[in-house]
Symmetry: C2
Subunit: 353 residues, 2 copies
């Protein structure tokens, strides 16, 4: 049996598969609305919010871009913090859609300093800031609580929009307490489902700022929100995937979030310590517990990855962008535990011998 | 066991479920590329094209809107034919995104006359025409071959963009022979899969017209095409859904398209004849074989639909927009056959008694 340790897609547990396979139901029905209503309530727990939550058919990038499209109009100033492949994508998306982009760039593996953001905010008052909580290409985690607090203190109306794709469900995340305005996550990460669904939490401030357009505008979260308030969907929903996500959200409620975060933390801490004993270095100065990006000063990362897959049936990820072929990335999200880490570490040890 | 006879989502056969449940594989891998390459080849057969095909995570509306976004720039003239709920959505999308919209509207249940389109094309030379082959809200099928031929004869560079969501795989469809430029379909219709994937065929002319933007632009089909040519994906692909769609496409190849079209035609013809015997009228003047939209001059459609669901465990769809509560719609796509029609007809007969 292949072991999937890529930081998304994450291995799908049996209980999720069982849920997904339930017979499809028509979505314009009371039964669907009851199920979706329960899902949305569990999603509130997942994001730690009492506010509005929605879902849409989209991969993570589609989700973040839809949030940016829905919340900002061309010409509006947004501050985008760029620390790697995905956060850089949000810079490019903002530029492409005609936003007035103020960029704060760091080298890969770094996280933004709160004081740098505050200096920016002395000179400009953006309509929003786009933060990537955990940058999946580097495994670095920024201090979202501190940054969001600083932003809100300086510019209370600045929307704090968070790519939480590889953070929520894996590390502490408190949407309401941290005064976030929009957070985006996706099904194939800590939610342990096939890719295809983006989920969102939205503050009152964000909702008031949603772009007004016609109801069939696929990218506009306003339609999803209007329908979600009736526990329904503006387009054909991915019914079976919703069954799976609902089961994963119930798992988080049963386990309790702090226990899951703790389990992920133990797994990550164990892996970080052991992999460094094997001579690896971590790319992230402030590593997230959701995944570890590491490299060896010597050795061909492509070959290591390939041997893990072919000889040990363990799938991990390589580097992206400037780190293509120069990095390895291992997942700690979902049900992944220390036993899985021991397995990949033992295989790595044999390969490196 | 519930019987799903909604014209999307369509019932999912066991062989599709079995395919979907295969363990997820990392998408940056040779194994994924082999599978996706096979899928794309089967997709060429499905659309009857030797040209380029792609897929993206999106429901059908997301797919059509992405095609329009990718092919036309703000200010460009497009002719949009509006005959019901979905084709009207493309009018609204075109207006929202700043296209110079020329609209040709018909009442629900009608199909466009080729001469009306030709009259339009005498006065204007649009960059594209948006046609909804089968309008799912009315069950009407337009003569795509004739219209596409007329358009191409008059304005050879006019892109013929086709919402083929409830047509391809159910009724004859020849992408290359009919000189189409872009056709969009989605996984939960004749492909008998969960919702979540849009698939596209694209002509050389369409490819040359694709919007140039950065690779992470989620809505731009150019990225999907560039990656598909390497048998890969610009974003995280819905791996398990691709397994399911690949299995459905293989089914079409085994059955042979003309046999599937014929089977769907027999099913539709039988249902249309029998339902009229029960006193129903068809909404579409030119009915598609993919679904039938019908109504009774007397009787509460909402109650009929509800009784079918509650007393007979048969799910069909109601009307949309102005026909909400005034219409019923039954699917003939996928593996649906005459036996299923007999079952729903017999239940309808008992309810109407």
């Amino acid at each position: 049996m292949r072991k999937i340790l890529t930081p998304g897609p994450v291995a799908i547990p049996d209980f999720v598969w069982e849920a997904i396979q339930q017979p499809v139901i028509p979505h314009r029905s009371v039964v669907f609305e009851e199920i979706y209503s329960q899902l949305l309530n569990s999603l509130r727990y997942f994001f730690q919010t009492k506010g509005e939550v929605i879902s849409m058919i989209a991969s993570g990038s589609g989700g973040v871009e839809s949030a940016m499209y829905s919340l900002f109009l061309p010409g509006e100033k947004v501050l985008v913090v760029d620390t790697g492949k995905f956060s850089n994508r949000w810079v490019q998306y903002a530029e492409t859609t005609g936003l007035d982009v103020s960029e704060l760039s760091y080298e890969w593996g770094s996280v933004p300093k709160t004081e740098d953001i505050l200096i920016k905010l002395e000179k400009e008052t953006p309509k929003g800031i786009i933060l990537t909580h955990c940058e999946t290409s580097t495994g670095a985690l920024l201090d979202l609580e501190e940054i969001a607090f600083a932003v809100k203190e300086r510019v209370p109306n600045c929307l704090v929009v968070v790519d939480a794709i590889t953070s929520v469900g894996a590390v502490p995340f408190y949407f309401d307490d941290w005064q976030l305005d929009c957070a985006i996550c996706t099904s194939q990460k800590s939610l342990m489902n096939p890719a295809g669904l983006s989920v969102f939490a939205m503050s009152e401030l964000a909702i008031r700022k949603l772009r007004a357009t016609f109801s069939g505008d696929y990218q506009n979260l306003k339609s999803y929100l209007t329908f979600a308030q009736q526990h329904n969907y503006p387009f054909t929903p991915p019914v079976n995937l919703l069954f799976g996500v609902k089961a994963a959200l119930a798992w988080f409620q049963q386990q309790k979030l702090p226990n899951v975060w703790n389990q992920t933390h133990q797994t990550a801490q164990y892996f970080r310590s052991e992999i460094q004993q094997l001579g690896a270095k971590l790319l992230a100065k402030s590593p997230s517990d959701s995944l570890t990006a590491f490299y060896f000063e010597q050795g061909d990362h492509q070959i290591i990855k390939q041997k893990l897959a072919e000889e040990y049936q363990i799938e991990i990820s390589g580097g992206q962008g400037p780190y293509k072929g120069k990095l390895l990335r291992v997942n700690h999200m979902g049900e992944t535990g220390i036993v899985d880490m021991q397995e990949v570490l033992s295989a790595l040890k044999s390969i490196l011998k």
